[in-house]
């Protein structure tokens, strides 16, 4: 019932759109009827371009996320456990964080050239900050008793991190990871649309510039679907793995 209600409006809009396009017999370089979009999508799906292009985008997004997220993870643990270091780093973080990753596109082109390298670097920059900020907040919020326990047990720095800190903050890191996954896809596609001749974003730009509105619309929907799918899978995993622990969001300071 809920699903029916939810699908009523989109279905209605699609029908109106189709009828409007057909009734006026629109032959446009910028608009396409839903049926044409569906056909274009079907064709792109079966000649394989859509998959190879998506694989390129996802490769850049995932490697960038691994690089940015990984270094943010390490730095956030260090800064979270050593408060003086966090206080000393604060100003640098506040100044660097607001730099929009897309403003660095020309810098990346200049220094790294076109290709995977620059896209990975930009995704890494963009995903670094949310994981760093959420991670530091998560570590500051660790139950003091757990840290006292680590001291009583005379755990070394390494054991303290792997046995106390990481298990205690894992749900929150996972939430930050899920949010950064969305960011990584957005930045990868954006970089491809703006500059990088690679992946689904470039394909999208090509379709638009060669006046294939049906394919353009189909690719936009596809990109949205990928984002939706990734988020749904991670959300499911989060609920399965951590239950309510993952749902308590840390407010970003």
């Amino acid at each position: 019932m809920k699903l029916l209600k939810a699908s009523l409006l989109p279905a209605f809009l699609l029908v109106i759109w189709e009828i409007a396009m057909r009734a006026n017999n629109v032959q446009s370089d910028s608009l396409a009827a839903p049926s044409q979009v569906a056909i274009a999508f079907w064709n792109a799906l079966f000649d394989g371009t859509i998959f190879s292009r998506t694989a390129e985008t996802l490769r850049a997004a995932m490697l960038g996320l691994a690089l940015g997220g990984g270094s943010a993870l390490i730095l956030s643990i260090f800064l979270g456990l050593v408060p003086p270091a966090a206080r000393l780093a604060q100003f640098s973080i506040e100044v660097l964080r607001p730099v929009p990753a897309v403003a660095l596109i020309p810098v990346a082109i200049l220094t790294l050239g076109f290709g995977y390298g620059m896209e990975i670097a930009l995704v890494a920059f963009a995903t670094f900050w949310p994981i760093l900020i959420y991670g530091m907040a998560a570590i500051v919020n660790i139950d003091q008793q757990l840290l006292d326990l680590a001291r009583v047990l005379r755990l070394g720095a390494y054991a303290r991190v792997t046995k106390i800190v990481l298990p205690a903050t894992l749900p929150r890191y996972f939430v930050a990871f899920r949010l950064s996954m969305a960011v990584s896809l957005i930045i990868a596609v954006t970089v491809e649309i703006a500059a990088n001749p690679l992946g689904i974003g470039y394909e999208l730009m090509q379709a638009s510039q060669s006046l294939h509105p049906a394919l353009t619309f189909a690719l936009v929907i596809w990109v949205g679907f990928i984002g939706f799918l990734l988020n749904s899978v991670l959300l499911f995993a989060q609920q399965r793995l951590f239950g309510p622990a993952g749902a308590t969001m840390v407010a970003a300071p």
Partner: protein, 254 residues
């Protein structure tokens, strides 16, 4: 923490930033990376000062900030109005809200080729894309805020015989202010990103296009000056909205 310790740590953390800039200078000077690829902070600073004194950078900065601001205002107003309508009506929540969830995961930049195809490469296209992108955080925050008003406040409005408009205006919207303002702050960041991307794609004058041209011409000092300026815009606008937020929500801290 005492006031003195506070000052000490603040000075220390600014000092660390200065050390980082110094490190950048040393790398630029002695690592052998040609200044075409990595200009030192001194060159970037000179380009920044030179750009402003020659009158080149100011209109570009204004163009970008204006674009970002108007797009953001447009998105915020539309987001609050649409969000209030959806949030305050059960029917709209059931029928319209799920569709929003379908559109939301599409990266906004992916809409750019579509909008470019429909209305062409122009400043208007950038504005539309900014509005389209920055509306989501505000819209969703408003829907959430308006639909999760404390039930007792709803009862109060019923006792006072407020009609739907009055309930919305006097109770639901003020009650969702914290959510809406938080959404608007995120929207502002999105606006800057989309303004820059839009300028790069459409070649409309502004800092986004400026940095792209500088990179293509290997004028790396101008490029870094532009990036620093964009970072400053991000920083200042974020702090400004944060302060406005704090001022408007001062009732909450009591």
């Amino acid at each position: 923490m005492t006031a003195r310790a506070q000052i000490f740590w603040t000075a220390g953390s600014i000092g660390v930033t200065c050390l980082l800039v110094l490190g950048w200078q040393l790398v630029a000077d002695y690592s052998g990376i040609p200044p075409v690829f990595l200009p030192g902070p001194d060159r970037a600073w000179n380009a920044l000062v030179g750009g402003f004194s020659s009158g080149e950078l100011l209109p570009l900065t204004e163009a970008t900030v204006e674009r970002m601001f108007y797009g953001w205002v447009l998105a915020s107003l539309a987001g609050i109005v649409i969000g209030a309508i959806i949030g305050s009506s059960k029917i709209a929540r059931e029928y319209v809200a799920p569709m929003l969830e379908l559109v939301r995961p599409v990266p906004v930049s992916a809409f750019m080729p579509v909008v470019i195809a429909i209305i062409g490469l122009s400043g208007g296209m950038i504005l539309i894309v900014i509005a389209l992108g920055a509306i989501w955080p505000v819209l969703l925050a408003t829907v959430y805020g308006v639909s999760s008003v404390e039930p007792r406040l709803i009862e109060v409005s019923r006792v006072l015989r407020l009609n739907r408009m009055q309930t919305l205006w006097k109770i639901a919207l003020p009650n969702s202010m914290p959510d809406i303002l938080a959404g608007m702050r995120i929207g502002l960041t999105v606006s800057l990103v989309l303004a820059v991307i839009g300028e790069m794609l459409t070649s409309e004058s502004g800092l986004g296009f400026h940095v792209l041209v500088a990179a293509r011409a290997f004028r790396s000092a101008d490029l870094f000056a532009g990036v620093i300026l964009l970072g400053l815009i991000g920083l200042v606008s974020n702090v400004a909205v944060q302060e406005i937020e704090r001022y408007l929500l001062r009732w909450k801290r009591r």
